[in-house]
Symmetry: C2
Subunit: 317 residues, 2 copies
C-alpha cells in the first residue's frame, strides 16, 4: 500500500524508517517540515529534511537521532578558530550535504529537486519531499522577543516560554506538485509522532495542504508524540502547554480534528481513548515508544494494519 508520511525531526524520522522497512521499496513517500530551515555561514541548512534523509539511508547518528553516525567536527573547530560562534553542531560529513544543497539551490534547482537527488544518492528507498519549495521560517515568540527556531531550539536549548509560533512566509508557500501527486496515489497518510506545533503544524499550514489532505480518499492516521503526558523527545509538551493545549494524546488528537481518521496512542494513555473517539477518530492502543530499530518496524506495521482497517473513504468529522 502506497503510504504518505508527514514528518518533522527525530521521532518522525524513526517511524518513517519503520514504514520504509515494512513497505515494499518505493511505496513510502515522506513529506518533511522545512519551516526550521535556516541559513548559517551562507549555507542552506534543512535540519528535518536531513534527519529524515539520514535516518532513511541508515546513516543517522544513533546517539542523537540527528546528524551522521561517526561524523567528525574538524570544520567546526576551524570555524571556531576563525572566531565564529559554533553553537550549531555541524559535522564534517553533514557539512557536505549543506554545501551541495546550497550550491544546487543557487544554481537554480528547487528544494524538491535537490532533496530527491541527495536522497537517491544515499540510497533512500522511496521519496523524500520538502513540504514546499518556498522559504518558510518558524519564529518562536518568547518573553525575550522573537527567536528563529534553531536559536530557540539549539542555542537556547528550548529554555524560553513559548508565547506564540509564527510561520513567516507561509502565505507564499504552495503544495509542491510532487506532494499533490503522491497524495493522489496514496492508500494511507501517516502523521508521524513529530511535534504537532512546529513539525506537523507547518506542513498542514502550507496553503492548500490541509484541504488536499481532507479531499484525499486515503485514510489518515496520526501517531501521538505525547505519551503519559510528556513528549517522547523535544519541547512539544512545554510548547503545547504554554500555547494552551492539553498536553496529552487527546490534546494532540484535538489539533488534528477533522483531518485524521485514526489515532495511535500508547496504552498508558487509554484514559484518552473516549475523548479521542468523540472527535470522530478510531483509536489504536499500543506501545507507541520506539526504542530500537525492530520497535520502529513493529509500530509501523501496526500503523499500516490499523490504517487498513479504516477503509478508503472513511470521513473524518
Amino acid at each position: 500500500m502506497k503510504t504518505l508520511a508527514l514528518a518533522g525531526g527525530v521521532g518522525g524520522a524513526k517511524l518513517a524508517a519503520g514504514l520504509q522497512a515494512a513497505l515494499p521499496d518505493g511505496d513510502l513517500a515522506t513529506v518533511v517540515n522545512t519551516a526550521d530551515d535556516f541559513t548559517l555561514w551562507g549555507l542552506h541548512i534543512s535540519p528535518d529534511l536531513d534527519t529524515v534523509m539520514y535516518t532513511l539511508a541508515g546513516l543517522a547518528n544513533p546517539q542523537t537521532g540527528w546528524g551522521i553516525a561517526e561524523d567528525s567536527s574538524a570544520a567546526l573547530s576551524m570555524l571556531g578558530r576563525y572566531g565564529e560562534d559554533t553553537w550549531f553542531k555541524l559535522g564534517d560529513k553533514d557539512l557536505a550535504t549543506h554545501v551541495l544543497r546550497t550550491g544546487r539551490l543557487r544554481a537554480g534547482a528547487t528544494l524538491t529537486e535537490v532533496t530527491a537527488g541527495l536522497a537517491a544518492a544515499l540510497g533512500v528507498r522511496g521519496a523524500v519531499f520538502p513540504m514546499c519549495d518556498e522559504r518558510v521560517s518558524t519564529i518562536v515568540h518568547t518573553p525575550e522577543g522573537p527567536l528563529e527556531f534553531q536559536d530557540y531550539f539549539v542555542r537556547r536549548r528550548q529554555k524560553d516560554e513559548v508565547r506564540g509560533v509564527e510561520l513567516r512566509g507561509i502565505e507564499s508557500a504552495r503544495v509542491p506538485r510532487s506532494v499533490s501527486e503522491a497524495l493522489d496515489g496514496t492508500g494511507l497518510v501517516v502523521f508521524c509522532p513529530s511535534n504537532p506545533v512546529v513539525s506537523i503544524g507547518p506542513i498542514l499550514a502550507v496553503p492548500g495542504m490541509a484541504e488536499a489532505l481532507k479531499a484525499a480518499s486515503a485514510p489518515k492516521v496520526a501517531v501521538s508524540p505525547i505519551v503519559g503526558g510528556r513528549a517522547l523527545k523535544g519541547p512539544a509538551d512545554r510548547m503545547m502547554a504554554s500555547l494552551g493545549s492539553e498536553v496529552s494524546a487527546a490534546g494532540v488528537a484535538r489539533m488534528y480534528k477533522g483531518l485524521v481518521n485514526g489515532m495511535v496512542i500508547d496504552r498508558r494513555d487509554e484514559a484518552d481513548q473516549e475523548e479521542i473517539e468523540d472527535f470522530g477518530m478510531r483509536v489504536l492502543l499500543t506501545d507507541a515508544v520506539m526504542r530500537d530499530e525492530p520497535d520502529r518496524e513493529r509500530l509501523a506495521r501496526e500503523v499500516l494494519e490499523f490504517g487498513g482497517t479504516l477503509g478508503v473513504g472513511t470521513e473524518a468529522r
Copy 2:
C-alpha cells in the same frame, strides 16, 4: 624595513613565511595571485591565498605545502558518496575557510576584506592582499582545448602542453587601494619564487600594477623559481618552455626586465649572471632552495640584505 612580497602558491608562500620570520611583526605585506581562484560546489576557493595564509599562520601541511596540517577529509568522502567528482582534495578544516569566504563575499564583503579577517583570525603577523577584488580566471590553452587552471593543474596533473595562457577578466581588474597604499609605504618589493607565468604573471597583469611597481621608489628583487634549468615545484619549467621562454634563471629575469633591480639566483646558475646583469639587474648568487623553515628565514634575510644594497631610487632599465 617594510616589505611587500608578490607571491603565488607553495614556493612563494615559503619565502613569505621566511620574510615574516625575519621582519618585525606587521612589516610584511604579501600580494597574492587570485587568478587561479575557482568555484566548486558553489564555494569560492582561492588556492594561492589559502596557501599563503596557512603558511604564514604556521598551519600549512608540511608534506604538500598546501592545505592544512593534519586535516581530515570526511566531507570530501561524503561528497563522493553523493556522486560528486572529488578530484580537488578538500580538507575538512580547509572547507571551513571556503565556506566562510563564500558566505562573507555573498554578504557583500570584498575579497580584500574577507582575506584580512581570515588572516587576522589565524594570527598572521602582517597583511595578506589579493591582487584584485574582481574575478580573474587563468585559462590554459592546450591541444585538448581551453582548461580552467585547477582543471589543468590538479585534475589533469599538468600533463597537457601549454600553448597559451589567458587571464580572463583581467581587463576589469583594478589594483586594490590596500595594495597601492602598501606599495607607497614599502622599502622593498620581493618577487617570490613563484611561477612567473601563472602566479606572478597575473599579479603584474592587473591593469596599473606593473606601472605602480615601476613608479615605486622601493627597490625590487626577484628570487628565481628556476634552479639548474628546472622548476623547484610545479609546471613553471614546462610552461616557460612551451611558451617559448628559456627555462633558466636568466629566462625568468627576462620576464621581469624593466621591473626588477635585482635577481637572487642559485649558485648553480652562476653562468646566467652576466646575461642577467645585461638586463640592468644586480645579481645575488646563493643557495636559492628552501628545504626547511630555517632555510626560508636564511634566504629571506639574504634577500632583505641584498635589497638593502640596491638603494632607494635605483632605476630598473
